[in-house]
Symmetry: C2
Subunit: 647 residues, 2 copies
C-alpha cells in the first residue's frame, strides 16, 4: 500500500475527494437493489429471474464503473507522469476499496429461501424435476456444497453476488489477453533468443515448480510439527502451488520497459519467458491434478501415475500447440487464396472468428484453449498478418489491444475485490512467509543457474545486470490468480489461493512499482529505439552485430525452411516458391504462388534472413512486410501515450 | 428458397461441392461429442461440468464455423457481384441447413438421468439442497416444466443443446446492433426529416400494432368458429404479435441502399423509422405484457389497467431515453474536460465502458437497456464523437461495426437453425395466412395514411414512389425474432413465434432480394453522392434546395438551442459559449469553453445550421467536425466493398 499513498500525495485534494465520492456512489446500486430483495418469501420463477437479472446488471455495473474509474485515474497518472503505480496495480487498489465497502459497509438480508430436501436418493443426477402440488419445476445441479453449516461470514449472500464463476476467467477473460500476447510478440527478437526463452520457459518453470513445491513441503511439515495447520496439505498441493505461482505476468514490467525503451534483448527474454511460461504453468498444473496413484492412498509416490502425468503434460501441450498452429495456418491460407482483403470488415471478422474457434476447438477436444490461443496468435502474427489488408492489420491490432486492456483491468480489479469478498480465505502467517520465501528462491533457482548454462553457449551473454532484472521482474498476475481461484474447495486450495493473492499484490505493487528505480540502479540502457529492426536501419553495421548470436543449427534449419517454403506457401511475402522449390515441383509452385509474391520485388531479401546469415539467398530485395509492421504493433502495445517520434 | 437457388446457379460447381462438404463437417464435432455422452449413468458433478463445458464449446463452435462459412460465401457473392441475397439471408440459409442436419441426420441418446422427486413442498424455492447419503448437493431452479410428458420430438436433448437462452439476444447480441444503428445514424438527414421519422416510428408503429392486432383477432375468432385452433389466443396475444412484428429491420435493405447510393432522404426516412420503431416496439410489447386487469378474468377490457399500460409505456420509454442521453452527455463531458484524447486506447475503452454501462444501468433500474443504448449511441454520435481523437473515432466506429456484423449474422443464422431445432413450433396454416395478410395491411395502414398527412405539412413531399418503397422495405428481422423467442411457454406465444419466423424468412428473402429490382421499377434515383453534405459541396445551390424543408418551429427551436448552448457546452465544436451566452454569464462561459473551441475558427458556421436557416449565425466558419465524419461512418456502414472514389 506504500506506493498508493506515495502516488496520491501529489494529486490535487479535490481530485481525491471526487474519486472517493465516485467510489461511494459505486456501491449505491447494490444497496438499493438489495433492499428490494427483501420480503420476497415465495417467489415465482419469472419474478425471480427478472430480479436476478436486475441484480446481475447492478453487479456488473459496479465493475464497469470501477474500470471507468481506473481509466480516468490512469489518465491522470499518465498526464502527471507517475510511474510508481501501473494501471493494473491501480485497478487492484480500487477493487480493494470496493471490497472493503461491500464487506463492512453494506448489510443485506440473508436469503432464507433455501430448503433442504432429505429424500432418499442414491445419486446426484444433473437435473431434478420437483413436483410441487402437481406442477413440475426443473432444477439443475450446481455442485456439491461442502459447508452446509456455513461459516460466520457477514453478509455471505451479498458477497456471493459479486463473485463470478471462476471459469469466466478461463473462457472469457484470459483468451484475449493470451492471444494478444502471442499476436504482439516482437517476433524478430523473440526468434533471435528462442533457445534461451524456451529454456527459461520450460526448464526454468519446471525447476521453479519443483523448488517451490519442495520448500513448501518442508514448510508444511514444520507447521504440522508445531500444530499450525488445520487441514490436509499434501505434496501434490505443494507442487500445484509451485506450478501456478511459476506463471509470471508480462503486463506491468513490460509496459514500463516499453515506455522507457529498454534494451530489446532483455525485453524479448522477459516477454518471451512470461508468455510461454503461462502456457507451461497451466498445462503443468492440470498434469499435477491428473496425478492420481492407484490404490486407496492418493498421496503416495507412484511411478506409473507419475509417468501418466508426464504423458498428460506432453499430450495436452503438444495437442494444444498443434491446434493453435493449424487454425493459424488455415486462416493464412484462406486469407491468401481469397481476395478477402478487399473487404476489411469481412477479413477482420474471419480473423476474429478463426482465432476464437481455436479456443473452442481445443476445449471441445479436451486440450487447453488458452495454450492453443497463444500459439494461434503467434502463427497469425507470423503468417496471416502478411496477407491482411492495411486496414485489417490496424483493426485486428486495435481490437485485441482493447480486449486485452479491458480483460486485464477487469481481472486485476476483481483480484482486489476478492481479497475482501471471498468467503473462505485461509490466511496462515507461517505458510504465507514460507510461500514468499519459496517463490523468491524458486525464481532465483530458475534464473541464475539457467543463465549461467545459457551463457556458456551464447555469444551475446546475458549480463548479471540483466539476470538481476529478470529475477526481480518475475511478477505474478492474472494467470496465477485464475489458476488459483479455479478450485477453492479444499483447505489446501484455499490456503493456496489466499497466499497467491498476497504474492500477486506484493509483486505488482512493490516489484512493479520499483522497476524504474531498479533499471537506473542496474545501469540498464534505456531509450533504445525499438524500430531499429526496420529494413532501412536494419542493414547498418551496428544492427548486424547482435543479429547472429544464437544461430544454433536447429534454429537455422527451422528458419531456412520457414523462409524458403512455409512463408511463401502461406503468405504473399518471402521469395516465390517457383524460385525455392526444386524445378520438378514447378507446376505446383506456380499454382501456389500469387501474383503479389512476384510483384513484391525482384530479389530475395527477407528481414528474418539476417538470422540465418543469408545462406542460399540472392539479392536482398524481398521485404517481409510482417516484420516492420508487427514491430510497430508491439511498440504501440501498452504505449497509449502520445506518439513519440521514433529515431 | 427461390432466391437461394437462383444465387447458386452461377457459382462454380466445385465451389458448391466445397461448401456442402464444409456444412457436413460442421456437424461432426457434435456427432463425436454426442457419442461420448453415452454411458454416463452416474456422473459426479465435476465430470459433468467438464463434459458440459466441452459440449458447450462444441456447440458454440458450430455457430462460429457457420459464421466463418457465411463470411466466405459473402465474399464470394460480393466478389461475383450478386445482389439477390444479402449476407443475413445467407446466414439464415446456412443455419437452416445445419438445423436440418441436426434434426434429421444426427441421432443422440436421450439423457436418462432425470429423476422426478415427489416431495411434499408448498413452494418452488430458488435453490434446493438435496441430501444424498450425507452429502449435500445444491440445485438451482431452472424454471417450470410444462410438458413433462414430452412431445414426440426426435432427439429432443440433442436439439436442446444448440438452443440458447433467449435472454442472450437481449443482453449480448442486440445491444451492439442497436448501439451501432444509433451511432451510425446519418444525423443531418435524420434531423432534417425528424418530424416524419417520429411520426412513422411512434404513430405508425401504434397504428400498425393495433391494425395487426385487430385483424388477427378477427382471424382467430374465425378459426375458433371453424375449430382450427387448439388453445387460448386472447386479444392481448394478438396485440403482442402486432407489437413485435411492427419492428422493422434496417439491415438488408439499407445495405443495398448504401451500395447503390439511393436518395438520401429516402434512406434517412427508412433508417430513422426502422431504428426508432425497434425501440417503440420493444417498449410497446412490454407494456402489453404489463396489461393485467383486476379480477379473475385476465382478458376483459379494464380501463384502469389500460391506463396503467400506457403509463408503463411512457415511463419506461422516457426513463430509458433519459438514461441513454445522460450517459452519453456524461461521456462527452468527460472526454471534453480531460485530455484523454492523448491516449486513444484509454479513450476507446472509456467510450466502450460508458456505452455498456448505459445498458446495465437501464436494466438495473427496470428500464429497457436496448432502448437506452440506442439513444446513448445517438448522443455519443452527436456530441462525444466531436471530442474524440481521430484514432479513437476510427477505433470506435470499427469496433462497433465489427460487433454489429458478428451479432447480426449470429442472430440470423440462429434464426435459420431455429426453424428446425425449436421443439415447440405451432404451424397453423390459417393463422400464418392471416398473419401475412395482417402484416401487409398493417404496414400499408402505417405508411400511406401517414405519408398523406405528412405531405400536407412537408415542403419536400414524400412521393408515391418513395411510399411504395417504404411499404415494401418493411423487412422484419433480429428485433422481431428476439421479442418473439423471449417467451414461448403458452400455445399463443408458440404460434406467434413460428409465424414470426416465417414472416422474417419471407421478408428477408423475397423483399430483401427484390430491392434492386424494385428500385429500378420505381425509378428511384440511385448513385446519389452521400458525401454531398460535406462543407464544400454543401454550399452549392442544389443542396440548399432540399435543406430547409420541415423547419417546423419546435425543431428550429431545439436546433438553435442545441447549436448555441449544448454543442459548445458538451463538445469542442460549435461557437464558443462566450459568444452565445449573455454577457452576465461571462466567467462561466469562459470556464466551460476550451482552447480548441476558440481555435476551431473565427466564424460561426455549423453544418447543422443549414437546418435553421442561419438565424443568429454570423460567418460560416465554425465547422462541426462530426458531420462529415459521421457521414463517412454511415456510408462505410455495410459497405465492405473496395473503396469507390466518391463524387
Amino acid at each position: 500500500m506504500g506506493s498508493k499513498n506515495r502516488s496520491y500525495n501529489s494529486l490535487k485534494k479535490t481530485e481525491l475527494v471526487v474519486l472517493v465520492c465516485i467510489i461511494c456512489l459505486l456501491t449505491l446500486p447494490n444497496i438499493s437493489c438489495q433492499t428490494q430483495n427483501t420480503g420476497m418469501a415465495n417467489v415465482i420463477s419469472e419474478r425471480k429471474a427478472e430480479e436476478d437479472h436486475r441484480q446481475d446488471s447492478a453487479d456488473l455495473l459496479i465493475f464497469i464503473m470501477l474500470l471507468t474509474l481506473t481509466i480516468l485515474t490512469i489518465w491522470l497518472f499518465k498526464h502527471r507522469r507517475f510511474r510508481f503505480l501501473h494501471e493494473t496495480g491501480l485497478a487492484m487498489i480500487y477493487g480493494l476499496l470496493v471490497g472493503v465497502i461491500l464487506r463492512f459497509g453494506v448489510h443485506g438480508q440473508r436469503d432464507l429461501n433455501n430448503v433442504t430436501l432429505s429424500c432418499a436418493m442414491t445419486s446426484s443426477p444433473a437435473t431434478i424435476l420437483v413436483n410441487v402440488s402437481g406442477q413440475f419445476y426443473e432444477y439443475t445441479l450446481k455442485g456439491e456444497v461442502r459447508d452446509t453449516d456455513g461459516q460466520d461470514v457477514p453478509d455471505a449472500e451479498m458477497l456471493k453476488k459479486v463473485t463470478f464463476d471462476p471459469e469466466i476467467f478461463f473462457n472469457i477473460l484470459l483468451p484475449p489477453i493470451i492471444f494478444h500476447a502471442g499476436y504482439s510478440l516482437k517476433r524478430r527478437h523473440f526468434f533471435r533468443n528462442l533457445g534461451s526463452i524456451l529454456s527459461y520457459a520450460f526448464v526454468g518453470t519446471a525447476i521453479s515448480c519443483i523448488v517451490i513445491g519442495l520448500l513448501l513441503y518442508g514448510c508444511v511439515a514444520f507447521m504440522k510439527a508445531v500444530g499450525q495447520i488445520q487441514g490436509d496439505f499434501f505434496f501434490t498441493d505443494c507442487l500445484f502451488f509451485g506450478a501456478i505461482i511459476s506463471a509470471t505476468d508480462p503486463v506491468t514490467v513490460l509496459a514500463i520497459f516499453n515506455e522507457l525503451k529498454v534494451d530489446v534483448d532483455l525485453y524479448a527474454l522477459l516477454f518471451g519467458e512470461s508468455v510461454l511460461n503461462d502456457a507451461v504453468a497451466i498445462v503443468l498444473s492440470s498434469s499435477i491434478i491428473a496425478y492420481q496413484p492407484a490404490g486407496d492412498n492418493n498421496h503416495t509416490f507412484d511411478g506409473s501415475a507419475m509417468l501418466k502425468s508426464i504423458g498428460v503434460f506432453l499430450v495436452v501441450f503438444s495437442g494444444s500447440f498443434a491446434l493453435g498452429v493449424i487454425t493459424g495456418v488455415m486462416t493464412s491460407l484462406v486469407t491468401k487464396f481469397t481476395k478477402l482483403h478487399e473487404f476489411p470488415l469481412l477479413e477482420t471478422g474471419l480473423f476474429f472468428l478463426m482465432s476464437w474457434s481455436t479456443f473452442l476447438l481445443a476445449e471441445a477436444c479436451g486440450f487447453t484453449g488458452v495454450v492453443a490461443v497463444l500459439f494461434c496468435g503467434m502463427t497469425q502474427a507470423h503468417y496471416t498478418y502478411n496477407n491482411l489488408s492495411d486496414e485489417s492489420k490496424d483493426r485486428t491490432k486495435q481490437l485485441f489491444e482493447l480486449l486485452n486492456f479491458l480483460a486485464e483491468n477487469f481481472i486485476f480489479s476483481y483480484m482486489g475485490l476478492t481479497l475482501f469478498s471471498f468467503q473462505y480465505h485461509v490466511f496462515n502467517p507461517l505458510f504465507i512467509l514460507g510461500a514468499f520465501l519459496a517463490v523468491f528462491l524458486g525464481r532465483a533457482a530458475n534464473i541464475y543457474p539457467l543463465s549461467f548454462l545459457l551463457n556458456l553457449g551464447r555469444k551475446n551473454k546475458i549480463s548479471s545486470n540483466f539476470q538481476h532484472v529478470m529475477m526481480f521482474s518475475g511478477l505474478r498476475g492474472a494467470m496465477a490468480f485464475a489458476l488459483a481461484i479455479r478450485d477453492t474447495t479444499t483447505y489446501a486450495r484455499r490456503m493456496t489461493f489466499s497466499s497467491t493473492l498476497l504474492i500477486v499484490f506484493f509483486t505488482v505493487w512493490v516489484c512493479g512499482g520499483g522497476t524504474t528505480q531498479l533499471l537506473s540502479f542496474m545501469n540498464i540502457r534505456v531509450g533504445v529505439d525499438s524500430d531499429q529492426d526496420n529494413p532501412i536501419t536494419g542493414v547498418d553495421g551496428i544492427e548486424r552485430r547482435g543479429v547472429r548470436h544464437e544461430g544454433a543449427w536447429p534454429f537455422r534449419m527451422w528458419h531456412s525452411f520457414d523462409h524458403k517454403y512455409l512463408k511463401p506457401f502461406l503468405t504473399h511475402s518471402g521469395p516465390p516458391l517457383t524460385t525455392t522449390l526444386p524445378t520438378c515441383c514447378g507446376p505446383l509452385a506456380r499454382c501456389l504462388t500469387t501474383s503479389q509474391a512476384y510483384q513484391s520485388g525482384g530479389g530475395l531479401h527477407d528481414e528474418d534472413s539476417e538470422l540465418i546469415g543469408n545462406e542460399g539467398m540472392g539479392s536482398p530485395m524481398y521485404t517481409d512486410t510482417a516484420i516492420s509492421a508487427v514491430t510497430r504493433s508491439s511498440s504501440s502495445n501498452h504505449l497509449y501515450g502520445p506518439k513519440v517520434p521514433s529515431g
